[in-house]
């Protein structure tokens, strides 16, 4: 690696010492690193170190057909892959001027919200585990698996569904799916009470989460914090409502906000969002049987499909925050340029580096997890 660094020079006359969080560390989400300088047990400097998951997606996508890229994009954020597909599809549809059938729109909403619930369940598990509480993780991941089963039934893939494509979704729902979906939602909703007792109202957890990683409203706006993290600061903004896509403007849902901007508020916002997502899915279940029509606008030969020149910027609300795709076409059969704005790119780098300073070593991992940063979104 850098062999000169094994060479001796005297240590600086400072009492600071270095501690590495990650990439191989349970206190870090995924393959990511945070290098902190500590004084006693207080962080005086934190530097994020990304790139462990860098695959050069943006470069790869320039080499592949418009339609091929659908299989590439969900891999950018593993815990919450659906918004990636949807967002890319939306961008391409806008470029190509494709009309989206209504049923496809509803199905996309269904998936997006399912994926959000799954991601939040995963998030609670991870967040609980950083504070040393493993039972919510064991429960949460197991319950998330039930949602993955639904995905599998709907799309054929547990995690990467590759179900959305420019023009709609791949196929219609299987028979009886809505009933099973509804049952699972009932189950999950029932379980929420257990989670509340075990986790959300656990006094020790509340004690640990309150006052950790506080983001004020001004800071949130200055650092481009988005999504639940923004709403935890008391700012009511949601792409689904304020920059509506698909049929979100036809749905009724609240945007839960919290005040405080600390880890506790961020957790609570997500907890409340799950309820909202369940209610959205219920609305979809109710509406879907009445919406007839195709699920896909056919596109010409996908292998030789040329999208008119131009650019588009599509945004969706993923479970982590504002996800955006900037897609440029020069009229060819492949994208000329795709730029992915992952929400965690902000949270995991700039915000985390700033929040970690002054934080104690106990709280570094919790700060990162409470931001729900997803490293592959940074690395792409």
């Amino acid at each position: 690696m850098r062999p000169e660094n094994y060479q001796a020079v005297n240590h600086p006359p400072s009492n600071e010492y270095e501690l590495n969080f990650g990439p191989n560390h349970p206190g870090i989400e995924g393959n990511y690193a945070l290098k902190v300088k500590l004084q006693g047990d207080t962080v005086v400097e934190a530097r994020a170190d990304a790139g462990y998951l860098h695959r050069g997606f943006e470069k790869l996508m320039e080499d592949r057909l418009w339609i091929q890229n659908i299989s590439l994009v969900p891999r950018i954020c593993v815990p919450d892959p659906v918004p990636m597909e949807v967002c890319y599809s939306l961008a391409v549809e806008e470029l190509a001027g494709l009309e989206l059938p209504e049923r496809a729109q509803w199905l996309r909403v269904l998936q997006l919200e399912l994926s959000r619930i799954a991601a939040h369940l995963f998030y609670f598990g991870g967040h609980a585990a950083t504070t040393g509480m493993y039972t919510p993780m064991y429960w949460g991941v197991a319950d998330r698996d039930l949602l993955l089963d639904l995905f599998e039934e709907l799309t054929g893939g547990r995690v990467y569904s590759i179900y959305n494509m420019p023009g709609g979704v791949r196929q219609d729902i299987p028979r009886g799916f809505l009933q099973r979906l509804s049952d699972t939602l009932d189950y999950i909703e029932g379980r929420l009470k257990d989670y509340d007792n075990l986790f959300f109202t656990n006094q020790i957890f509340v004690k640990r989460a309150k006052g950790i990683g506080i983001i004020s409203q001004e800071q949130a706006l200055e650092w481009s914090v988005t999504g639940p993290n923004l709403r935890a600061c008391g700012l009511e903004f949601d792409v689904r409502r304020d920059d509506p896509y698909l049929i979100y403007d036809q749905l009724k849902f609240d945007i839960p906000t919290e005040h405080g901007g600390d880890a506790w508020a961020r957790t609570l916002v997500r907890r409340l969002e799950m309820v909202e997502s369940i209610s959205i899915i219920r609305q979809v279940i109710k509406a879907l049987p009445d919406i007839k029509g195709p699920v896909r606008t056919p596109i010409p030969n996908p292998l030789a499909w040329r999208v008119p020149a131009g650019d588009s910027y599509a945004r969706v609300e993923s479970s982590k925050g504002e996800l955006a795709y900037y897609v440029v076409s020069n009229g060819g059969d492949k994208p000329y340029r795709v730029h992915i704005r992952g929400p965690s790119a902000m949270h995991a780098v700039q915000v985390l580096e700033k929040l970690a300073v002054g934080c104690r070593v106990e709280d570094v991992a919790q700060t990162m997890f409470s931001l729900d940063a997803c490293p592959p979104e940074v690395d792409r």
Partner: protein, 233 residues
């Protein structure tokens, strides 16, 4: 480019000479059995396949039934799960981590990307063939493999360990020159990890004829000494 292809080279399979002492055999078998029934896997999410490990670990599939539990540091762990593509930056850490693990250590390549780069085959950032850089015991293909597949793979590894067939870690010591050569090819000639693999091979009599070679010579010429701090009186 790599100098030789190791896929055809058999590990120096000295069939462990059945010792005359029956107790010794029983003891060896006991240790092998325990190794297979107690596998600590390293908590290192190298890629997207890691998302299917929590389901495999937690309440639904429960790996602990099989004696598998996650461990935090490479010192404590036995299995290194390479869960998907390894970017070059990660690969360096993976090698460092692998070398820090105590033998016998096993590597499982999960996901298709570890076999041949998978869908990132033309990416400039990911390494393609994992077993050029570290020896792999078992691949679990799929993108990504389901938890059932992961557990099935782990059970196969258990069976291999039980019969003392999972010996890829010996391959690393015996063909260190080959692996080091590939690593140098990718990372440059001044590549060096803090772990003294050659010294370890010598200490534990794991050297083979191919432990040393032209690449280890390069290493020796650029290496900064990292001898252990001996007690001095």
């Amino acid at each position: 480019m790599s100098n030789t292809d190791l896929s055809n080279i058999e590990v120096n399979q000295k069939p462990v000479a059945k010792r005359s002492n029956p107790f010794a055999n029983v003891f060896n078998e006991l240790v092998s059995f325990c190794r297979s029934r107690s596998m600590f896997m390293l908590h290192y999410c190298t890629g997207c396949g890691a998302i299917e490990l929590p389901p495999a670990m937690t309440s639904r599939f429960d790996m602990e039934r099989l004696g598998i539990q996650p461990m935090v540091t490479p010192r404590q762990a036995d299995i290194l799960l390479i869960t998907g593509y390894v970017s070059i930056k990660t690969l360096k850490r993976v090698i460092l981590t692998y070398e820090q693990m105590g033998a016998p250590k096993y590597v499982i390549g999960i996901c298709s990307c570890t076999v041949n780069g998978g869908m990132y085959w033309q990416s400039y950032a990911t390494a393609k063939k994992l077993d050029e850089y570290i020896p792999v015991d078992l691949y679990i293909a799929g993108c990504m493999p389901r938890p059932e597949a992961v557990i099935e793979g782990l059970q196969q590894l258990m069976a291999k360990i039980k019969t003392d067939e999972a010996n890829s870690w010996k391959k690393y010591y015996e063909h260190y020159d080959y692996y080091l050569g590939n690593q140098q090819h990718l990372f440059g000639n001044n590549w060096q990890t803090p772990t003294d693999i050659i010294g370890e091979a010598k200490t534990y009599q794991l050297e083979g004829p191919n432990t040393l070679g032209e690449h280890t010579k390069i290493l020796e010429s650029v290496q900064r000494p990292l001898e252990p701090l001996e007690m001095k009186l």
